[in-house]
């Protein structure tokens, strides 16, 4: 579904490659976690997948088509992107923000139709955020904002959903809410989900395909339960990793 071939990327005025020769194949209908420390290149790789950043070397293909040759509308039909920082344009109401999910199906002079608006309300209600439709974005808590952003991605109705650290600013309850929602979406729809996180437990919980990144390279890839071992994690996080499998799923913590 998504093929990354020999991707190299360097920010302007940066001496080193933030992404250094990454080759990756993401399969359809899977849930994938890009895992690694801060500044290892996870977000950059996600933006390259979405075409927001253009690599200096290598190609990104979606269903065999080069992402750079696709228009923004074509990309938005294939992929929705839940950005990490959603603190802008905060005086949008939740309803109006969600309706923007339909932009990829509208011509430049068109407005969302009545049936599209009705669908926004229906999807929001089904998603459990129907009570927020009247509220302004800046009145929402971090957890609510994240749920709204995920719901907007669902309205965009693309096959692939990219999420940049969807749990990073959330408390444990909201982290669980967001992750269980993603798990449910993956199970109930045939969407391909790719998220970035620096928490290995999220990958274990999602039973995801894990891509472990370090210093701009992919150091390992595979099923979370097989891959998240003391050895691989020690390579990333250092020696003071503690690994337990006493719970219903394995858990990683620090000593």
């Amino acid at each position: 579904m998504i093929n990354l071939k020999n991707i190299k990327f360097k920010y302007k005025n940066n001496a080193y490659d933030v992404i250094n020769d990454v080759t990756l194949n993401i399969k359809k209908n899977t849930i994938n976690v890009l895992l690694g420390l801060n500044a290892c290149g996870k977000t950059t790789l996600l933006k390259i997948m979405n075409g927001l950043l253009k690599p200096q070397h290598g190609v990104v293909e979606i269903d065999g088509e080069n992402i750079i040759s696709m228009s923004h509308v074509e990309r938005a039909k294939k992929m929705s992107f839940v950005l990490q920082r959603q603190n802008i344009a905060s005086d949008f109401t939740v309803f109006n923000y969600l309706a923007i999910g339909y932009t990829n199906s509208l011509k430049f002079y068109e407005q969302p139709t009545s049936s599209q608006k009705e669908k926004v309300v229906a999807i929001a209600e089904e998603f459990g955020i129907g009570n927020l439709l009247n509220r302004l974005l800046d009145e929402l808590s971090g957890g609510q904002l994240q749920m709204v952003s995920i719901c907007k991605a669902l309205i965009q109705d693309s096959e692939i959903i990219l999420l940049d650290e969807p749990t990073s600013a959330l408390d444990m309850r909201n982290q669980n809410k967001v992750l269980s929602t993603l798990k449910r979406i993956a199970e109930e729809t045939n969407k391909t989900i790719i998220i970035t996180t620096h928490n290995p437990n999220h990958a274990l919980y999602l039973k995801a395909n894990v891509v472990i990144m370090n210093k701009g390279k992919i150091i390992n890839e595979g099923n979370s339960e097989k891959l998240i071992t003391k050895e691989t994690l020690t390579e990333i996080y250092g020696n003071d990793i503690c690994y337990s499998n006493e719970l219903d799923y394995n858990e990683v913590s620090f000593k």
Binding site: K47, L83, F108, N131
Partner: protein, 347 residues
């Protein structure tokens, strides 16, 4: 809880509000327009106005001449310029995600002001003063964009800072021109031009002004849904399927042209581009689908009212920027206060 809110949610609430304000706005615009035709140093009643326009009675020839030669072109110009400056302000505010931005941000006003002052001291005719002002307005914006491009991170903030720097430079250059101007003649002319006026508006002006402002504002109305997405910022807009960079330059060019055309005809008119978008957002909310048409109508009304005040109450004309500033400032403070109240009520 969910059910109560669900029942309360009316997805067409904003649209109904928009249509109400649009109808009220158009009615108010018509009333202000009629008022503008009868107001002025030559006193006229509504009856005289109707007779002068709808009959060919020779006893109303004086009124007819006053209306056709002076007040009609003046009133139409005021509506067009009011609409152009207000909607440009709104577009800049959405594009730069900054509610304190106005059309002259990128240096249009200061550049045009310098160009006009230079033309005046060189003894150019009014036509050339306008033309040179227009060219300098655009050149200044090009300079601002060029400087911003030099930075590796070409963000909206860099563009804003670049605008401040270039405007500052142009203001200093303008001061130099004023220093060399003749105190008795050209300096007064420059000062008057820098404060704007519709005093010399003619039917001839409309041949150029009307099509340009009509095309510019209509394009913005057509693009109103896309502008809403652009207001989310670069990454969000791109991820939603909108070519942010292309639209950014289209919007900058249209807004700058609208501002430069207005300034080149009638001088620098301040405050309107800042105040009207704020009033409109308070009335119909944030969505540009609604704010753009309402801003055009309200901008026209505001400018007409300001122009009526300029000419109806004093023996000599008051510069328009003096009035827009005097009315605009208290309105702006009132808006800030009202917004605070709205937030409190919501809490």
């Amino acid at each position: 809880m969910d059910n109560t809110n669900r029942m309360n949610f009316d997805m067409n609430k904003e649209k109904k509000r928009f249509l109400l304000f649009l109808v009220v706005g158009i009615v108010l615009l018509f009333i202000t327009f009629c008022l503008s035709l009868i107001a002025g140093r030559y006193k006229m009643s509504l009856n005289q106005l109707v007779n002068a326009i709808f009959t060919s009675d020779a006893s109303f020839d004086t009124e007819r001449s006053v209306i056709m030669l002076l007040r009609l072109p003046r009133s139409i110009s005021a509506i067009l310029v009011g609409a152009a400056l207000s909607v440009s302000g709104l577009i800049y505010q959405e594009l730069f995600q900054n509610k304190l931005v106005s059309p002259d941000l990128l240096g249009v006003s200061s550049g045009a002001g310098f160009g006009a002052a230079l033309a005046i001291i060189l003894g150019a005719s009014m036509l050339y003063v306008g033309l040179i002002a227009f060219v300098f307005g655009l050149l200044t914006v090009a300079l601002t964009l060029g400087i911003a491009k030099l930075f590796s991170k070409n963000t909206a903030l860099i563009l804003l800072l670049s605008g401040v720097v270039v405007s500052g430079f142009m203001s200093s250059a303008l001061s130099m021109v004023k220093f060399f101007a003749d105190q008795e003649t050209t300096l007064a002319q420059i000062t008057f031009w820098l404060m704007g006026s519709f005093e010399y508006a003619k039917m001839e002006d409309l041949k150029l002004l009307f099509p340009l402002i009509f095309i510019g504002t209509t394009t913005l109305v057509v693009l109103r849904n896309r502008i809403n997405v652009i207001a989310l910022g670069r990454e969000d807009a791109k991820a939603s399927g909108v070519s942010y960079d292309v639209y950014k330059y289209i919007l900058i060019v249209i807004s700058t042209l609208l501002t430069a055309i207005s300034i080149s005809f009638y001088g620098v008119i301040s405050w309107i581009g800042l105040v009207i978008p704020h009033i409109v957002r308070l009335a119909v909310g944030r969505q540009t689908q609604f704010t753009i048409p309402i801003t055009i109508v309200f901008g026209g009304i505001f400018m007409l009212l300001a122009d009526i005040i300029c000419r109806a109450f004093t023996a000599s004309e008051i510069p328009i920027s003096a009035i827009t500033g005097l009315i605009g400032t208290p309105i702006f403070i009132a808006i800030l206060f009202l917004k605070k109240q709205v937030v409190k009520l919501d809490d």
